[in-house]
């Protein structure tokens, strides 16, 4: 059964130094509040997993928490590069970072394979791409019926998956609505999982018999964090702060301004006040 905890207690209890951690969100419902709490608690030596690392990962990498990144597209969507990520990869600041680079299709399949307790995922991928040559975790098999060559990637099984969702009910069941990305798969694939939610309701609304729901027995901990996805957005609650995404380019471009921003907007805030 999922346990209701403060954000501080949940992060402290679930995320350990050296863990592989997936804070997933495909542009929607990105768990910024939880990620900032990981920064505040300085939990380092992490392998960060994320299909589309954006500002939150730029911040965690810029704070030196990550020794390795497993990803498929790292950028500030519609704006440009992630300067802290590039600084780490190109100049090893604040520390060198290893990359395991995949395609979106590979990581989406790998999360699904993890949720299905499979050792690997199989799909038609990496055809003619150099990505297969630079990533030992891309291999190929021959279809036993047609002989077609298919790509194989290891299943993703994070130690911890952290996602943000709209609602949890009193029993700890979680409702995700809108662009749900790979959040369900990440939670089901992980050993431990934290879901931050906008609100707790008596019973989940019965919008559709096929709504995307994570039963309480598939989630380790739930923390209430209204606004916990900002500057990303929460379908039905608040819009995406596109202006901040644009502003981040300048903030993150210089190491000093980045560190000052982190100091003011993350380190000096408590977990319960959403950034």
């Amino acid at each position: 059964m999922s346990e209701f905890l403060s954000l501080h207690a949940a992060v402290a209890g679930l995320v350990r130094p050296g863990d592989t951690v997936a804070l997933e969100g495909f542009t929607h419902l990105i768990p910024f509040a939880a990620g900032h709490e990981v920064i505040r608690q300085g939990i380092g030596e992490l392998t960060l997993i994320r299909m589309t690392p954006d500002l939150l990962y730029d911040q965690m990498i810029g704070c030196g928490l990550a020794k390795r990144l497993v990803f498929s597209w790292g950028g500030n969507p519609g704006v440009g590069s992630l300067h802290r990520l590039r600084d780490a990869v190109e100049r090893g600041w604040p520390r060198p970072i290893e990359l395991e680079e995949h395609s979106h299709a590979a990581m989406a399949h790998a999360y699904a394979a993890g949720a299905a307790n499979m050792p690997a995922a199989f799909f038609r991928g990496y055809l003619g791409s150099d990505l297969a040559a630079v990533n030992p975790n891309v291999r190929f098999i021959d279809c036993p019926f047609t002989g077609e060559q298919l790509a194989a990637v290891p299943a993703l099984r994070p130690d911890v998956a952290i996602v943000h969702a709209q609602k949890a009910d009193r029993e700890g069941n979680v409702l995700l609505e809108g662009i749900v990305g790979v959040q369900k798969e990440a939670v089901l694939a992980a050993r431990r999982s934290l879901v931050t939610v906008e609100e707790v309701v008596n019973a989940l609304p019965r919008t559709s018999p096929n709504a995307v729901v994570l039963p309480s027995w598939t989630v380790t901990a739930i923390a209430v964090a209204p606004g916990g996805a900002k500057p990303s957005y929460a379908h039905g609650y608040y819009a995406r702060d596109n202006a901040f995404y644009v502003a981040w380019d300048a903030i993150s471009r210089d190491r000093g301004t980045f560190q000052a921003w982190i100091g003011e907007h993350v380190l000096s805030r408590s977990a319960e006040v959403a950034s």
Binding site: P77, E90, A112, Y233
Partner: protein, 257 residues
């Protein structure tokens, strides 16, 4: 009427889309081209965004492929694993839009690194959906600004397969999809030669000379037998496009592109 080179590219790309197409839409210019087409000559054009939104009809351009408006106006929104399994790999997408930091004469693309992979001069965002978009969509439209820096003789890294390093590898791999069928830049339109699959200039945008294209291309660019002039953007096309960008700027509080 005057127009910018970005407007020229957007209008030209939009014209290549039809009512029967199902487009896998990336962010930026492709998104503008698809929505322009949908709002002008191809109202039944269907837009599918990587984030899982199917047949979405946004009123403003999304800044990212996961903007809220995409979900609100979509027929439905599926998970990202399902999007890549049933919809992209399932072969239901007719047009995939792609771009990159570098393109070569056979439509292969690099969006991974400039320099050596292990110690790159520039670490680019990465392939994202591109490698499988290139393999699974029936046809690929490449949309990129024309410069020697981007149109290179040899890619630093082949992220996304076009027709292959020599133009023949795609076929040799047994792929049944067409690969790059059109390249639209701010200078011209290029299409692959039927046999060699080398991209050739087939149309020059108004005011663009052959020399200009030669100057801006990092390989000895070929011109097809007949090279026409790309029709200029019509007043209606520009009006709809500019309204779209204005609405987007207002909605996102960001300067229009």
């Amino acid at each position: 009427m005057t127009w910018t080179s970005v407007e020229m590219m957007t209008v030209t790309a939009a014209r290549a889309l039809t009512d029967d197409d199902v487009c896998f839409v990336g962010i930026g210019l492709p998104s503008a081209a698809c929505n322009l087409a949908r709002l002008t000559h191809a109202p039944r054009l269907r837009l599918v965004y990587e984030s899982g939104t199917i047949e979405t009809r946004p009123d403003v351009l999304p800044l990212s492929i996961g903007d809220g408006e995409l979900c609100e106006t979509a027929l439905t929104t599926v998970s990202v694993p399902e999007m890549f399994q049933y919809w992209l790999q399932g072969g239901r997408i007719t047009i995939g839009f792609l771009g990159g930091a570098q393109v070569d004469r056979f439509g292969n693309l690099n969006s991974t690194v400039i320099g050596d992979y292990a110690r790159p001069q520039v670490r680019l965002p990465g392939g994202g959906g591109a490698p499988e978009i290139a393999a699974c969509c029936r046809r690929i439209f490449i949309v990129m600004r024309h410069s020697r820096r981007a149109f290179v003789d040899r890619l630093a890294f082949l992220t996304t397969l076009g027709h292959g390093p020599t133009g023949q590898e795609r076929r040799a791999l047994g792929l049944t999809t067409e690969g790059p069928a059109l390249l639209v830049s701010d200078l011209c339109i290029m299409r692959p030669h039927p046999e060699t699959k080398e991209l050739q200039v087939t149309s020059l945008h108004p005011g663009v000379t052959r020399d200009r294209v030669v100057e801006e291309t990092g390989w000895p660019v070929a011109f097809s037998g007949v090279v026409v002039e790309t029709p200029a953007p019509t007043a209606r096309e520009l009006e709809v496009l500019r309204d779209l960008h204005a609405r987007t700027a207002a909605a996102h509080g960001v300067p229009a592109e």
